[in-house]
Subunit: 389 residues, 2 copies
């Protein structure tokens, strides 16, 4: 049993010794999520490049990657620095490069011997990258971002002129490594058939773009696709060389709403203390407000709106229909889902509860560390994580 | 001119040397917001206890407080520790106390000689606090939280039995310092008359509760009210002894929508780089997604929906109708407001823009420091801030 602290017994699970709110990570669920996705990607016979933007932790990364040096994907150059410094050398920075960030990219490559690649989708970026590579003598690896579904960035897969133009400009000074896609619209789906179609659309767009480049005599050794929903639902990945995914590691209520995981698979939760009650309104007040949960309301657009999170007991078992119905900065208001016939549990002041988040990436970013629960459900370790840029 | 960095000239404003996204703080606007609220509160002849939950920075606190030792309000015990360690000794922790946090409160009081007060609204908390005070010999100062408008926590001002019961239990071991209210429903208003009425309702509820305590022979030396909207709109504060407010320091688009500040008063903005374009969709893509802006969509419920933020040029001048229409983790999608007849500005890849946030508390919490713009608009200093619990 952990040592008593702050006047209360820590309990057999050690949770009573933690300051609330804090972030819990269930190591067994994490491990199961990791091996499930690894098996899924291996079944397709393609390489796996996990996205470290959700966890931002070397401890999680070492469990998730196929080797201690990568491959891995990052969403910020701060992540690239953090992971490269810790031995992860095969990295793709999967957000369109701004030219004034190239010197920082070069420093990470040089200082850590990292094979850090960038992505882009315009002639202007391609020219800037090529010019930078020629000037510095560092032949930067570059992916052309291709847009499979109109979600965000990327060249349309059928825009052969633009693909060739970018490819030629990149290859004139830098290293054209391939194409990279992210089927972000899949987050709006929940039907398995539609998700399989989204995965197929992502695959087909990738191949179309890759073939355009190769037909123009340009190299395209890597064809990279990925999102947690499409990686989970792809029927096959013929022609694809690597898959990326990130939020699958932890899972969350949005992914459960999509069907990429079950509620019981969610590996992160926020530990909170009950600090008050409003029986006249049916409210239980906790110290986990939106600062602790994030402002993410991703389930609001899904079939089941989970408010700011689904409330579980200290052992992680969900209460029937009890959600974080409202949130202020440091106050969470627990209430039964509208129309629920469930009984509101009796949770005296000081009771510890665990809250499953809508969006693991957003919630985890509110914390500097994970309190890791071992296979006996005991808070056994603290794993740091990074934030910022 | 700041030193060139990352291959680009920093520019006369020094902004080109900063990594994007980052958080800018306009010192002149901050100072004007601070003096405006100070004058408003002084006009009412009451003490001012600024809330440090928005800024979480000792540099900002020292400008905002009436003295270097406080008074001040905090929303977490981590803030209390941080500010007490830096000389702020008169502190109210304005979130209902969980009994297992009392030892941490006691450590802050003892270690820094801080007069750190707590708040509560139940018999169970009152008994726990009194018992703790008797056991430790530290007579903890306690406010009874009173609910003026059904927003969140607090005893109803007319519930005389509960007020007396809590007051008697507190006074049996700890120090009953008074009542504390927060008119949180005022955030949903925008009409100046309605805001003045909300301020009057907060005042009246405070006096009713204070009179109930005093009629029962209980002490109530401090009568504390506050929210940025009510503090800005109160007609008078007779009978009130102190006012609290926090977000007024920076202002934000939600406060501008309420009428507590003008858009031109907003002191914080996110510096972002343009990283791509989707002319077919009318989109400009930046590197400031929801991780940089927060997921707060507080203006969605107001007359003018600002998306994830209002876009300004590098000098801070808003573009006509250009907002962050969508956001992914590290991508912001700029687009004209729906139905706008404005011309989309030409912003090539690499252009720096500044984005005004919906909610300063949420956006600032995504950063570890402020890049402070001096009166010439130059990035002249870096002020650290804290996050977490």
């Amino acid at each position: 049993m952990a040592a008593a602290k702050d006047g209360l017994d820590a309990g057999a699970d050690g949770l009573g010794a933690l300051q609330t709110p804090c972030l819990l990570l269930d190591e067994a669920k994490l491990a199961a999520n990791l091996s499930g996705m690894r098996a899924q990607v291996e079944r397709h016979g393609v390489a796996f490049r996990p996205h470290l933007k959700t966890a931002k932790s070397i401890d999680v990364a070492l469990m998730a990657m196929t080797g201690p040096g990568g491959p891995a994907t990052v969403s910020t150059l701060k992540e690239a620095e953090y992971f490269a410094e810790r031995g992860v050398r095969d990295l793709t920075y999967a957000v369109g490069i701004a030219p004034h960030k190239l010197d920082r990219v070069g420093t990470i490559r040089r200082r850590f011997g990292a094979d850090l690649a960038v992505i882009l989708d315009s002639l202007a970026q391609a020219e800037a990258v090529s010019e930078w590579s020629r000037r510095t003598g560092d032949r930067l690896p570059v992916f052309i971002e291709v847009d499979p579904d109109g979600h965000r960035s990327g060249v349309k897969p059928g825009d052969a002129d633009l693909l060739r133009g970018i490819g030629q400009r990149v290859a004139a000074g830098a290293e054209l490594r391939g194409v990279l896609l992210h089927a972000g619209e899949s987050y709006g789906l929940s039907d398995p058939e539609a998700l399989a179609e989204a995965a197929e659309g992502e695959r087909a767009a990738a191949l179309q773009a890759a073939e355009t480049l190769m037909a123009a005599g340009l190299p395209c050794p890597v064809v990279s696709v990925g999102s947690t929903p499409t990686a989970s639902h792809a029927r096959h990945l013929d022609g694809i060389t690597e898959v990326r995914a990130g939020v699958y590691m932890f899972g969350d209520l949005v992914q459960a709403g999509i069907g990429s995981c079950a509620v019981g698979d969610i590996a992160v939760s926020v530990l909170a203390s009950v600090i008050g009650h409003r029986p006249d309104k049916g409210w239980i007040i906790t110290d986990a407000g939106w600062m602790a949960m994030s402002r993410d309301r991703g389930t609001a657009a899904q079939a089941v709106d989970q408010g700011y999170g689904l409330v579980c007991d200290r052992a992680g078992k969900p209460y029937d229909d009890l959600i974080v119905a409202q949130a202020n900065q440091e106050h969470g208001v627990l209430a039964l889902r509208q129309g629920s016939g469930a009984q509101r549990p009796d949770l005296p002041v000081g009771t510890l509860v665990r809250i499953l988040p809508n969006h693991a990436c957003a919630t985890a970013a509110q914390y500097h560390c994970y309190h890791v629960l071992d296979r006996d459900g005991r808070a056994a370790a603290v794993w740091p994580r990074i934030n910022g840029w």
